[in-house]
Structures are given as C-alpha cells and as structure tokens.
Subunit: 585 residues, 2 copies
C-alpha cells in the first residue's frame, strides 16, 4: 500500500534512496555497473595509498571503501559522488591521531576509528539541525589555498617512500629538513621504482589516451584504459619485486594484508580521547563536507540536478559512522574519483554500492597479491594524484581582484605549509571572517548629489552632480550595527562641524539593510547633536524591514526631520524649503 | 610660546592630560578631591584584599594603587575610570604566576611584576597600532547586559560581609548556595551595621540632597555633602567599632595595614619566564581592556563625553608598566571603583592622581586609623554603588526592537551570572558577531517594481508597483561575500526555474557594498546558468568601489547582459527590448 503523499515526500527527503530506486531500470543498472568497475579499479590502489598516508595499515583503507559507500548510497543526494578515503582527510587524520598515539600501535588505529565516529556524529547532527550553511564561511579562496598547500604537504610527505628513507614532520620545513637529514640513506632501487612509477603515471595522465586513440581504440575505451594506469603500475612493480626479490635489497613493501571482510569494530568512548579529538573531528568534518559538496554540486549542475547540502551532511555522517563500525577511518567524497564515476556514466548512488561490492571482493581475494607491492608505488600514486590539486593561480587572481581575499589565501597557504593543516584552515576561516568584520566596521560613506536630468543620486566625487550647500546627503554603504555605530557618529559629526551652511543632513539608507540596537542609539545621538546645532536630520530610501523596526522605537518620533520614500523626494522638498533662505542670504 | 595648532593637537592626542588640564579650575579641583578621598578610602582595603586574592603580600596591592593611577592620569582619556587592582585580573594573575613559582616566594612576586610589565607592553603596542577598534565589537546591548549582570554578581559577593560570614563562589549559584550554607553563622552586630549603612547610603542618594536644600543649603554644597555620605558612614562605623570594641564581638575589621612607599622594582627579562607568561598576559590585557573600556564608555556616555579606545590602551599600558616598576601587579580600570569615582563627582583623571596621593599618604600615615573600619561598611558602599547600574530594561527594549540583540543581551546576562564575567562577556561578543554573520549569510532579497509616476523601485509585496513578466528585478539587501554567495546562487535559480516567461534578470545592487572573490565566482556561475536557460543577466546601480573591482575581473566581459547606471535605465531599456516579443506572444 503506498504511503500518503506528504509522508512519502518527507521520507524520501531523509532517505533519498527511496526516490531514485523507484525508477531504477536495466539501463541504469548497466551504466552504474560499468562506472562501479572503473571506480573499483581506481579505488583499490588509492585506498591502500591513502591508508599509508594516514599512517594506518593498508587494509583499513580497503575497509573504509566498503560499508561507507553503502551508507552513502542510502542517505546521500548526489548521484555521482564517490565516497571513500581521500588525500586531505587522510593527512588530517594523521595529524590528529599522531598527537594521541604512536604510528603503528593498536591505539593509533583505534583512535582513527574513534575519529571517524566522532566526525560521523558531528556531520549527522549538523545535518539534522540544518547547519550546512556553516560551510559557507569557508570562502572559495581559502578552500583553494588550503587544497593547494595540502597538496604540497602531501606530495612532500610521500617523498620519503620514493627515496626509501625514514623522515617525518607535520609541516613543510620539518619534512624537508628531515628528508635532507636522511638523504644519505637513500635506497637506489626504491628510488628507481619510485621515479619510474611517477614518470609512468604522469605519462598515463597526459599521453596515454591520445596514443590509444591514435592506435584506433574508441575514445570511451581509451579513457577507461588510461584510468587503469595506477593498477598497471601496481601490478608491474609488485611483479618486479617478487621476481627479483627486491624486498631483500631494502625495497619496502606493503607486506601482509589480512584477507577477509571488514571486522565489526567499536569506537572508543573515553571522554579524554573524545575531548582531545573533538576539534580535529570538527575540522575534518567541515573540510570533508565542503570538499565533497562542492564536487557534488559541480557534477549535479552539469546534469541540471540538485543536491541538498543538509542531507549531504547526513549522508557523509552515515558514511563515517559506517567507517567507524567496520574498521575504517574518516571518509568523504573524493574529487578525482567522483569525476571518474560521473564520466564513466554513473547514474545513481547505486554505483557506489556496486563499487563497495568490488572492493569487498578485492579484500576477500586479492590481498595476498599485494604482499610484494612496494610502498614507493603507492607514494607515486599519491604524488601524481595530489599534484593536480596544486594551483597557485588563486594567488594572482585574488591579488588583482581583492587584496583582502589575497591576504586570506596567502595566510592559509603559508600557515598550512608552516604549521600544518588544522592551523592553516582555521586561520584562513578566522582571518576571512575577521577581515570581513573589519571592513564592515569602517564602511564606505559617499556624499551624493543629483545626476542632472534624472532622479538618480551618485557620489559627488565620481560623478558630475547637482548639490545644495544647505543640504548634505550621505549614502552609507553598509548595514549599521554595533561595529560601525560609533564610526557613523564620528563621520557625521566631522562632516557638519566644518561647514556652517548646512541646515539639513539626509542619510540615504538604500544600502542599510539593518539597524541594530547599538546603531539605533547612535542614530538617536546623531539626531540629538544635530538638533543642538540647529540642523535637521532626515532619512531617505529606508527599506521595509528596517522601517518596520524603527517604528517600534522612539527614534521616529524624536527625529528632527522626516523620512522620505525616495532620495529624490527628499531633495525636492528640502531644496524648496531652503530656497527662500538661500535668496535671503 | 604656544605650539602651532596641529602639533599641539597631536601632542594632546598622545598626552590627554594637556587637554583637560587647560580648563582645570577650582570647582573641578573640589569635585576631583572629594572623589579622590572617597575612592582612596574605598581603595585601601580593596587593594589589600585583591593582593591577597592574587597570592601576593598585601602591600603590593597598595603599590599597585599609587604609580599606575598617576600614569593613567597622564595617558588615559576617561574622566572617571579608576585604575588599580581588580578582582578578575587578580585571580588571573594568581593562576598565571602559580604555574611558575610557589605562593609566598620571592619568585612568585617577581613573576607578578613581570606579568604586569608584559601586559603593559602588549597594551601599549596595541594602542600604538590602533587596535582599539576591537572594542567596538562589544555592542551596546552586550555592554548593558554585562554591566547589569556584573552589578548583581558584585552586590551578591558583598553580602557575606553584610552578614559577617564566610562565603565564596565565582558565579551567582555558587555564591547564593554558599551564603545559604553559612547563613546560620550570621553575626547580628555586623548585619546591623551592614543593613544600617546600606539603608543610610540609599537614603543619602535619594533623600539627603533635597533635605539639605530644604534646609536652605546651596545646591552645590548639598551635592558635595550628599556625595560625602560614604565617608560619613566609614567614619561613623569605624568610630562605633572602636568605641564599643565590636571587633571582639565578631565584627570583621580591616585590621593592620603595613606602612611605607612603593620600592623601585625591575621586571624580569628571562626569555623562559616571558614565553610562559605571554599568553596569560595577553588574556589579562584583553580582558582588562574590554572590562575597563566598557566601564569607561558607559560612564563617558552618561556625561556626553567620549573616550578614545586606542589612547585607553596606551593609558592602561602605561599603568601596568608603572605597576611593574613600583612593586605592583597587573591593574586595569575597576568596575565598582569607577562607578564610585563617577558618583562621587570625579570630573577629570586628576581625581586618579589625587587618589594616588591619598593612597600614598594613607600608606604612610593613615593606616592605623583604618584598623577598626568594618568590612560591612565597605560592602554597603559597593552594593549601593553597583545596584544603581543594574537595569533590566535593556531586556525589554531589545525584545521589542530586535530579537537578535535580545539574544545577545540575554546570553550575556545569563552566562555572566552563571559562569563569571570572563565567560559572560566573551560569549556576548562572540554571539553578537555570530548572529550578525548569520544574518548576513541569509540576506533579505526583495523583488522590486516601478513606483508609478516616479523613477523609484520598491518591493512588489509592500508597494503598488509596475512589473513586467519578462523582467525580474531582484534587489539584494546585503553585501555579497563568501557567507552568502551560495545563497544567492540558489535564490536566483529557484526564482527563474519556476517561471518560464522570464527573459531578463536584473540584480539591483544599490545595497551591495562589496563583492568578494567567492561572490564573484557565484555571479559568474549565475551568469552561466542563466545563459544556458536563454536568460540575460543585468546589473544596475552598482556602486563605484564595487564597479572598480568588477572591472579588474573577466566578469563584465562574460556578462550576458549589461550594467545600467540606474535601475530606471535598466527598466526602460529592457521594457522596450521585450515589448515586441510580448505583443507577438
């Protein structure tokens, strides 16, 4: 029996799977299956590599790519988003968990699982309380700067695997210093494998597809084959290690990866661990959400679909909780992976569920084959993947457009490189909010006059306009609130004190979207002071919502002048009122 | 020879003493002297108590009330602020220094002196770099709420002296619980002194001046006599204790105060000490400044005076440096004390200098006379002073004017009462900034039409206006920045998707004071999407500063429509352009 319509709509909003599954047919199934196969092939080496980046055993990367994908397929709204371990979040996981436990210890893995759980709870709660708008406070330039800096950090962190040495550090300086310190221990065979794989993967990205097409292979197939590059690299280098026994000549390998499906795990509930992981989990949640939602939105708009950000929070929250109960670590929607999924023809989130089946099969059957996989190959995969994220053009674009945005980007990049991901992104957010507040606390105020032959008023400095010495019209280019209330008092005072011919001050409020209590008190103060100087205060073009509020205060009764609907009305009335006086004087 | 005007003005800005001292006359002197005497009497036992609270020898409290007051009198801009040791800063000092040395040791006292010096340097540097604007982020309602809640806290904290019992607590609940717990220990003689003094002081405030005037005493003298009420209370109760030996019947008295002038001291310059004290010093500086400036601002506005926050930073910085070189510890403007100073009639900062002389004289000569002063009398003075500041009308005023302001006030009051002044005021500031950001992240957007017979455009919902089905004009009532960029994208999309007759979208930018990089990218996205739907995007009334910036980007070249100087121009041009089509359709 079908549910009544409103109930069904509500249920579908919370369980998007109910919506798309109704129209699921064989064509959609085929598209989703093809996409799933391609994403699976891409995801196996990535999962292993990102687990390595997070300092976790490789199987945890695989586990994080099974149940979380199923959870997202049920609760997510994007049709193309591919969820799983991603580079930036893996790096942030390493930074967060590294404060609590030693890499390689059981506590380290347990903390990563708990981190995923806390992050899942935060995301779900944010989704339920519709707090998705909070992500808007991460400005585009800050995100761009953060991703670029993270890409550099991640690539640098992987160089140790390319050189086959031990090195560490949470910021760029530490890493580079450590790399130089350990450089003499470089293992040349590892270096050869690493450099060759990196070169091969770069060539696959740029040169393989055209080559395949030149060889007469259909573009669609050529595309898919090119995406399988990392798998080929994994297979070839693993084979090489096995054949020549390179593991005995210092080449570090992945080693034993447990075979089997993900275990059931329980996150820790120690208050101490939670309180020390909470801030990191919050940052991981927000960054993961922003990265994920921007990919999802870009892909959705290409097909004129919509995603629901607040429901995305629930989807990602469910994914992370799923990761926590199945031996994984924090996950989110991956950029490259989602684009591949989209390009490969994924039509619904079912593609993600099929990918999960693919990874589960790999975990059951393929893990023994991964024993001889050199870590250098995984490092090369990561380096090639993240270097495509590095894009310094945001610096030049913001420099020419807005110095304020430039400052936020530059600070984000420098602080991320210098002090790590958490401090970098927090500083970026705080700085952009701080700069916005600073700007609004010192608003632009324009003295305006009438554009001849129109009823339009513009800045007397920029335009040729009519003015009247007895009337000063100030257009305040900002909402009036506590941070700039005093500024306005001072500005009006300074303007009238130095000009004794003024009889009327008009505040043109077309750009005033808000007058809060502090600003109201400042307006009352301005009115009082002007009256003492025998000057009338008028308002013009006060917006509906602002007027509604002013009418609830005493200000309008105390106002020495009038409130005019339009600035032109004010101009006409006051020009007539002052005309006889002007003649007399 | 007088200085040239600009030089004198600059000098006066940095040395406010030069300004007010020019018009200093006998009346002002009398007012200041009376205030100084009253504040001196209040300050001596307070200084001793706060020094003990900070874990320091009692004489350090006196030393912190001499030279710092002189320094503030030279550099400060508030006419009523009374500088010295205060409760919150004393507590913070104990916490900061307690990490470094054992209470009672010489290192402990030396660290407190160093803390005052670091705090002084921080405040002065902030003043030089004009960071005083930060104080504007304390909105009027938050200050009002903070002062009301602090008044209640302070009054409650003094009740134990009225009852003659031991009680403590940092928030209202703790204090009230503690008072009830110790109520059985009430000393009835103390209670009688406390209640009688409180009643006497309330009567002095309300009834004494009219009575004196009725008795034929000149208003000015009546005023001074009324202001000297607390002095009379102190003299009478001290006499009573001495005459009847009440100290032996459980009435707590101030007791022995060591005598002597402040020594010259040198702050420590050990890098280790500095680095471990720096964060504490920063916190003490900021909280002290915020507390001090809010008191100073409230008191200044009652007399239509102004304070200069940047110069206040220098004044407080100088005071702390003065404290550090004269055996004191961190000081700031005291809340209750400044109110008493103000109520006692202080007209200029000279009152502070006279207070310093008073404290110095008292430290040398008068301390034996204070031996029998009952603490209950001081408590009564403070209670009567601060209760006049408790004013819950801010709640009703903000409730009727703006719910957002109401939330900030209510939170400030509740959190100050519940968790102490530091958390209360910080939460008030953070909440008011957060609410402001939240509002700007969901801006008001009005669809506007032409007011007939004018060139003025207003909201179609509020006004009777002309519209055209092919043209949608949206007036965005907010600057466009990262927090609302995505909102605008969604808003425009939702508006055009449900109306297929639309050919032109005009964004009326009269209220857009800023378009940052994130918003620019959103505008580009809106332009792209509308073009895909065969709809042109136009802008109108773009302000000069915003236009300057847009011209530095690619947006204007990519824009599918035009930028019109006025909304009326846009309306005329687009109405003509769509007219034939409208007829054909």
């Amino acid at each position: 029996m079908p549910l009544p319509r409103p109930d069904r709509a509500r249920l579908e909003r919370h369980l998007p799977i109910l919506k798309w599954s109704r129209s699921y047919d064989r064509d959609t199934l085929t598209s989703d299956m093809v996409a799933a196969v391609i994403v699976t092939i891409m995801l196996i080496p990535q999962s292993l590599a990102y687990a390595l980046l997070a300092g976790l055993p490789p199987e945890m990367g695989l586990y994080a790519s099974i149940l979380p994908l199923v959870a997202y397929a049920i609760f997510g709204t994007s049709r193309a988003l591919a969820v799983g371990p991603v580079a930036v979040v893996s790096l942030m996981t390493a930074a967060a968990v590294g404060n609590l436990a030693l890499q390689g210890s059981a506590e380290y893995a347990a903390a990563a699982i708990t981190l995923a759980f806390i992050s899942g709870v935060i995301l779900t709660v944010m989704g339920i309380f519709r707090l998705g708008f909070l992500a808007n406070f991460l400005s585009h330039p800050v995100i761009a700067g953060f991703i670029t800096a993270s890409g550099i950090l991640i690539a640098t962190s992987q160089l140790k695997h390319i050189f086959g040495i031990d090195a560490q550090g949470h910021n760029l300086t530490q890493m580079v210093m450590s790399l130089f310190a350990h450089a003499p221990e470089t293992n040349l065979i590892t270096l050869a494998i690493g450099v060759a794989t990196t070169a091969f993967l770069f060539w696959v990205r740029k040169g393989l597809k055209p080559l395949l097409q030149d060889m007469g292979i259909a573009p669609r197939l050529a595309d898919i084959l090119a995406k399988a590059g990392p798998v080929a690299a994994v297979a070839l280098t693993t084979l090489a290690v096995w054949l020549f026994g390179l593991q005995d000549r210092g080449v570090r390998i992945v080693g034993e990866v447990p075979t089997g499906l993900p275990p059931l795990t329980l996150p820790g509930f120690s208050g101490e661990v939670w309180s020390s992981l909470f801030v990191s989990a919050l940052l991981i949640s927000v960054i993961g959400f922003v990265e994920s939602v921007s990919v999802a939105q870009t892909l959705a708009s290409r097909k004129r679909q919509r995603i629901v950000p607040d429901q995305e929070l629930v989807g990602l929250g469910a994914s992370n909780i799923a990761a926590a109960i199945s031996g994984g670590y924090p996950v989110t929607g991956g950029f490259a992976r989602s684009v591949v999924n989209f390009d490969a023809g994924a039509e619904t989130p079912a593609a993600g569920a099929f990918t999960a089946i693919g990874i589960a099969l790999a975990a059951l059957l393929l893990t023994p084959l991964l024993f001889f996989l050199p870590k250098a190959t995984l490092a090369a995969t990561i380096i090639v993947a993240v270097l495509s994220l590095v894009d310094f053009s945001i610096l030049s674009r913001t420099w020419s457009y807005s110095r304020v945005d430039f400052c936020a980007v530059a600070a984000t990049i420098l602080l991320t490189l210098g002090f790590g991901v958490e401090l970098g992104v927090s500083a970026g957010v705080i700085l952009s909010i701080g700069l916005f507040l600073y700007k609004t606390s010192r608003p632009h105020v324009a003295e305006v006059g009438l554009v001849p032959g129109s009823q339009h008023f513009r800045n007397i400095i920029r335009h040729k306009v009519q003015t009247n010495p007895a009337i000063v019209t100030l257009r305040i280019d900002e909402s009036l609130y506590f941070a700039n209330a005093r500024f306005l008092e001072d500005y009006v005072n300074d303007r009238v004190v130095r000009d004794t011919s003024i009889r009327h001050v008009v505040l043109m409020c077309s750009a005033v979207n808000e007058v809060d209590m502090s600003a109201l008190e400042s307006l009352e103060e301005i009115n009082r002071r002007l009256r003492d100087m025998d000057i009338s205060l008028h308002l013009s073009e006060v917006k509906g919502p602002v007027m509604d509020r002013l009418q609830r205060s005493h200000f309008l009764t105390d106002l020495s002048g009038r409130v005019y609907l339009s600035q032109y009305d004010a101009w006409r009335a006051l020009t007539q009122a002052t005309a006889p006086k002007a003649e007399a004087g």
